[in-house]
Structure formats: C-alpha cells, structure tokens
C-alpha cells in the first residue's frame, strides 16, 4: 500500500474517533455540571479545556471558560482544530483522498456525516439539543466503525484505520480519567451518594455504566473505575484493550518483519496486562497516565517511521 494512503487511513480513523471523544467529554461535563457540586460548573469547563491542553487557544478567542463558550469551542468552532466540526471535516478530507481505497459505503457514510454538520449553526445545535447532538456524533462514529468493519477488506487498509481508532481512544481515555480522577477523588468531601452520581457520569460518558455493575456488582469507587478503564481486557475503551488492539494490528501489518513500533506497543501492553492496579495507584495514577500519553505518542511516531517513511 502507498505510504500516503496508509497515513490518510490512520488519520481518518483518528479524527473520527476524536470527534466521538469530544462528544463524550462534553457529555460527561454537561452531566457533572448539572449535579451542583460547589463551584462545579465553573471548574468543570476549565477542566475540559485542561484535558485537551486547549486553555490557551480558548482564552485567546473566547476569554473566560463558560459552558456556552466551551461548548461552542468544542463543537462547531471552525478555528479550533479539535472541535467536532473540524474533526469530522478532517476525517472526511482524508477519506476524500482515499476514494480509490475505501469502500463506497464508507465514503458515503462519512460524506453524509460531513454534509449534516457542514452548515450547522449554534442555533441549530440548541434547537436540536446538546444531548441529541452528542448522541448523533456517537452514532455516526459507531456507524463509521461498523461500516469499516462490515465493508472494508480486512487487510492493511483496515489495520491502519484501526490503529488510528485505538491510539486516539487510548489517548482520550487516559486524559479523561486523569482529570476526573484528580477532581473527583481529591476534590474535597464527597459522600457515597455524590460519588455514585459523579463517577456514574464518568462511566456513562464512556458507555461503561452498565459494564461496571455487571463486573463489580458493588458501589462505584474511584479505584475500580480506574481499574476498569486501565486494566480490563474486555472493556472496549480501556487502555489495555486499546493497546492489545494496536499490537494485534501491528503484528498483522509487520508480516513477520520485526518492527520497532510493534515492540513498543507490545512492551507497554504487557505492563497493562501483568501490572497491578494497587501499585499504579500507589505510585500515583496521574504519573502513570502521563506516561500513557507519552507512550501513545511514541508508538504513533514509530508507526510513521516504520511504514510511512520507508524510503
């Protein structure tokens, strides 16, 4: 496969996943802001920007972090390269360069998503309702993955798309967990009822509320939420799951060659597989999650060295 094609597939996967993650981050913040912790609403929106390392860009264009400002910034703001609008645009532009590679259904599904958001205004968004909008973004992302799975050849093209999806997801899960854990676990007094609602919101935002109960049959504790999102191999948004998928796809792409990107991903995957949660929490979850972000970036860089800069 052409290296440029591989790169476009990878970014198409990443951007679509990022659009979904933006919707999830905003969704959980929306829910938390409604739960009336002291100063919650205000700090919640700054925290969202912190997750994305976007405080400066936001401050330049919007000033103070308010619900309306941050929501607009992350949904339809065309000047923010990480807004849902920009992510869908970028995913679609990558797909446009891939017209000869991806399936017709895949292109059409992305193109329809793009056409729906292209001219959307803040007023449209409010009329539709934010929750509705987030659900729509998530559905389009589900559809994207489903169409990819169901219509693309499961060969290198598919593998590069999946790499984009799972590296982006690992990155996002780490960021989300990091900020929420700091805020909720160390954010002052919280009784079990508010813990239930707050962590419940986090779980819901990653679609894991029911999964948690099925697996733990018990009250929601920050430690278990962290374990679920870091270590559990059956949880599709956990770091473990993402790294397993990345390693698996890289092994397929390597076709017997020994590639550094596969080794890096496998090495970190082993720590997620054989590590202990108590130890990670003991050493500091924040430190650990920062390392996850570094590893994710490292694997991503090595993928481009091994596949995209082959000549």
């Amino acid at each position: 496969m052409l290296s440029r094609t591989a790169e476009s597939l990878y970014w198409m996967g990443r951007y679509m996943e990022r659009a979904e993650n933006m919707a999830r981050i905003l969704d959980v913040s929306q829910r938390l802001a409604m739960q009336g912790r002291p100063n919650a609403a205000q700090s919640e929106w700054s925290a969202v920007l912190a997750i994305l390392y976007a405080e400066d860009l936001y401050a330049e264009t919007h000033g103070e972090a308010t619900e309306d400002g941050v929501t607009e910034f992350l949904t339809l703001d065309q000047s923010n390269p990480s807004s849902i609008w920009s992510c869908i645009h970028a995913a679609r532009e990558n797909a446009r360069a891939l017209r000869a590679t991806i399936s017709v259904e895949m292109w059409e599904s992305l193109n329809i998503t793009w056409l729906a958001i292209r001219d959307m205004t803040v007023a449209d968004l409010q009329a539709k309702g934010l929750r509705e909008f987030f659900d729509w973004v998530k559905e389009r992302s589900h559809l994207f993955r489903g169409v990819a799975h169901g219509t693309m050849l499961h060969n290198d093209s598919f593998a590069f798309t999946r790499l984009g999806t799972f590296l982006e997801r690992a990155d996002n899960t780490a960021r989300l967990l990091d900020t929420k854990y700091q805020m909720l676990a160390f954010g002052g007094e919280s009784d079990s009822a508010s813990s239930y609602y707050e962590w419940g919101s986090v779980l819901r935002s990653v679609g894991a509320f029911r999964a948690y109960h099925q697996m733990y049959h018990d009250v929601i504790t920050p430690e278990r939420v962290a374990e679920l999102l870091v270590m559990r191999p059956e949880m599709p948004r956990s770091l473990r799951f993402c790294f397993d998928k990345v390693t698996e796809n890289l092994a397929g792409l390597a076709e017997g060659r020994s590639l550094e990107c596969e080794r890096l991903s496998g090495e970190f995957g082993s720590r997620l597989k054989y590590g202990r949660m108590e130890r990670i929490l003991g050493d500091g979850l924040h430190e650990f999650l920062k390392e996850v972000l570094d590893r994710t970036a490292e694997v991503s860089l090595q993928i481009s060295r091994d596949f995209l800069m082959t000549v």
């Binding site: 496969m1 052409l2 440029r4 094609t5 000869a100 059409e108 193109n111 000549v311």
Partner: protein, 474 residues
Amino acid sequence: MAANGIFDEMYGWNDQVQPPYAKIAEWLKNTPPELFTSKLEQAELLFQKIGITFNVYGSAAGTERLIPFDIIPRILSAKEWQKLQAGLFQRVRALQMFLHDIYHDQDIMKAGIIPASHILRNEMYRPEMKDVTLPGQIYVQIAGIDVVRVAEGEFYVLEDNLRTPSGVSYMLEDRAVMMRLFPKLFQENRVAPVDHYPAELVRQLRSVAPERAAGSPTVAVLTPGPYNSAYFEHAFLAEEMGVELVEGQDLFVRDDAVWMRTTQGPRRVDVIYRRLDDDCLDPLAFNPDCLLGVPGLLSVYRNGGVSLANAIGTGVADDKSTYTYVPDIIKFYLGEEPIIGNVPTYRCSRADDRAYVLEHIHELVVKETQGSGGYGMLVGPKATKEEHEKFRQLILSDPAGYIAQPTLALSTCPTFVAEGVAPRHVDLRPFVLTGRDSMTLVPGGLTRVALTEGSLVVNSSQGGGTKDTWVLED
C-alpha cells in the same frame, strides 16, 4: 418542440419523432412533470451522496459543485454509432501516426502538407521527445473527441482532446444513476452497456507497458491531488481499475526506474496513467515551479523504463490550429477521405482567412488555439461591439493564436429545465482507447448540454450539464 432551423435529436426538423427516440418520446409524453422534478431531486441527492463533484477553478480551494444532470437521455442508433466509430478510429489512428512522424522523420513537413515552423514553433511541441520510440508507437492511449451534429447523419468533429481528456466518469455515473432511477426504461430500450470502460482502459494501459514488465505490469493513476477539478474522476478510475491512485510525492526515480513509496518499501511502476499536464510532470525537465510531478521522470521515460499515457508532447496534435490540418493528416497517412469532417475553420495566421474573420467577427466563434474549457472564446452573435473590437485587436496582435468557425446550428435535445421540457444544444465526447494492438470504443460517451436557452457553450466550467448517452443495440 424543435426550434426553427435547428435539428433536434428527438424531433428532427419538424416534430417527427426520430426512430431511436420512439419509446422515450412516448415515456416523456406520459410522465407527469412532477415525477421529473422528484426524480431530478433524487438524482441530485445521489450525486451529492456519492460525492460526484468537481472543483471550480478560481474559487476557494475545495469548493465543490455538482455538474447539473439531466434525466432525459440522448440516444444514438446502432447505425449512427457504427459510422461514428469508423470515423473516430480513422481519425485517432491518423493522429497517432502524425505524432510518431513529427517526433521522428517529419515526412509530413517534408511533403509540405504542414509548414515545419507550425510544428516546431508550437509551444506544445516537445523537442525532448524527438526520436524517442514508444511501445507500439502509441502516443494517445486515451482520446476524447468532441463531436457535434447539425443534421440527421451529419456529424462534425469540433475538437480533439489528446492530452488528459476528462469526463468519462460522468458517462459511467450518469448511466448508473439513470438505471437506478428508471430501471423500466432499460427494459424497454436495448441500451448498449458502458460499464466495462475501466476494464478496457486498464487492459489497453497494460498493453503499452515496457517489454521488461511483460506479464503483470504495475499501473498507477497519477493525479495532481484532491483539489484538482477532476479529482473525483481520477479516484473513480483508479478504484474501478483496481490500481493505485498516486500523487507526485508518492513516486520517485532511482536506478532508471520509477518507484512508489509503499508501507512495504519501494515498488516499481510500469505504466502511469497521468492526469497531469506535460508541464508539471517533471520539475527538472519542464516547469521547475510545479511540484506536482516526479523529478527525473522524463529521463526514465525517454529510456523506456516507464510508459506514460498519454505520451508527452501530444498537445501539438490537438491544438486548435493543428485541428485545421487533420483532414490533410488523415489523407496523408491513410490515403483515405475523412469519414467525419471538421467544422469549417478559418486560420487567422492566413491573410485571406484573417481578413474574412475580422470583417465577419459578429457571425463567427473565435477561439484561442491553445485555450480549453470554453475560456478565451468569443461567440460573435452573442457578443457586444466592444467585445468584437477587443477580439479584433487580440487577433491582430497574435494572428497565429486564433482560429474562427461559423456558429454551427448544433443539434438540440429535449432537456428538463425550469420552464419544463425544452430543446437545448448538445455535443458528444466519446472516448477512444488505443493499445499496442487494438482500439476500443465503448458505445456511449459524455453528452454535454448547454442549459441556458440558445447557448452553445456546453463546458461544465461554464454552467453546462450532462446527460446519459444511449447507443441502441440493433
């Protein structure tokens, strides 16, 4: 329905339904206009969804527009098609021989049929191609010949497109959409299929691969990229042929060969179907400011390490001033009379012709010899006095840069427009494929229609639309 003094494809000269249109005329009569409106909307949604768009030059990058599609097909009988095919094959065969000749022995210049200066001073003549021998001596693997009709059985060639002719994706997609919208019409009419075009194209491209690559040559489509006006078509053809769609940055030259950068390392390319102008192919040999090409490509090509379709330097044969010589070219190389003639054309470089053009400019269509896409053109009867004067000055300052033709009474075809079904002028671009041992013409082509009443300009960049083109089977 037909306008006065103009031949209508469906209604002839005086409301006599032409035989190939019998069933469609019936259908047109029995279909309520609301259905057309709703089908047309459906068609537009389909095109939008599939993303069949083209980018408009001169507007912001990435501005995508749909080419208007008309749901009333343009129909040719098997007999009409046979004559067209014979004429097109004859013309393209002669043009291949002409190109080989001007880049080798130059017999046609020695024989005084065309002045040597006309060829050698032509901007499109590429001295780099002198004495380069191409597989099968084929220069033009893909030709798009624009044909117009003025009466029953009376066709003329309006223009040869021998560089990177586009539009074939519309031939294929218009058909696909028509079959989806009106499946019954295809049960009632025996329409010859066109969808094997990509298979024929890749077969002919493989046939001109360098000897070395015999067996299974690697073919790639070279595009300028997603912002090119015809990008959709490049991607579409690559997809349909099952070959890579590459940009210049994906290719490089090493060891007298062209390679693609792939995830598994370099892979050699044997045939490049390039949709990039000569000027941009190789910054080391041609325009150094155009970075869309591949440095060093020309030298590999000259040594036979890679084949290009079409060849470098074909522009000299489709230039509008060379056009006037094509009937002579056919006679010279084939010893035959042209089966399809040219539109009578005045060369402004000739004193008599120029005097006539300057005097009759208000009746003529004046074209730049190297213009394309309907730019740089004057339609005399529709233009103002100031525009006439402007073109007189342009011609005087550069006589060889212009030709003129009488305004032809181009045939019309019923077309669904805002006012209802009305006659609109059409032309036809069939695509002739040439390989090492054979020629292919898929029965159909791109019918372009000028959507404005009375307009003769069918170019999509100037607001023209397209129609599905049917060739009926016997």
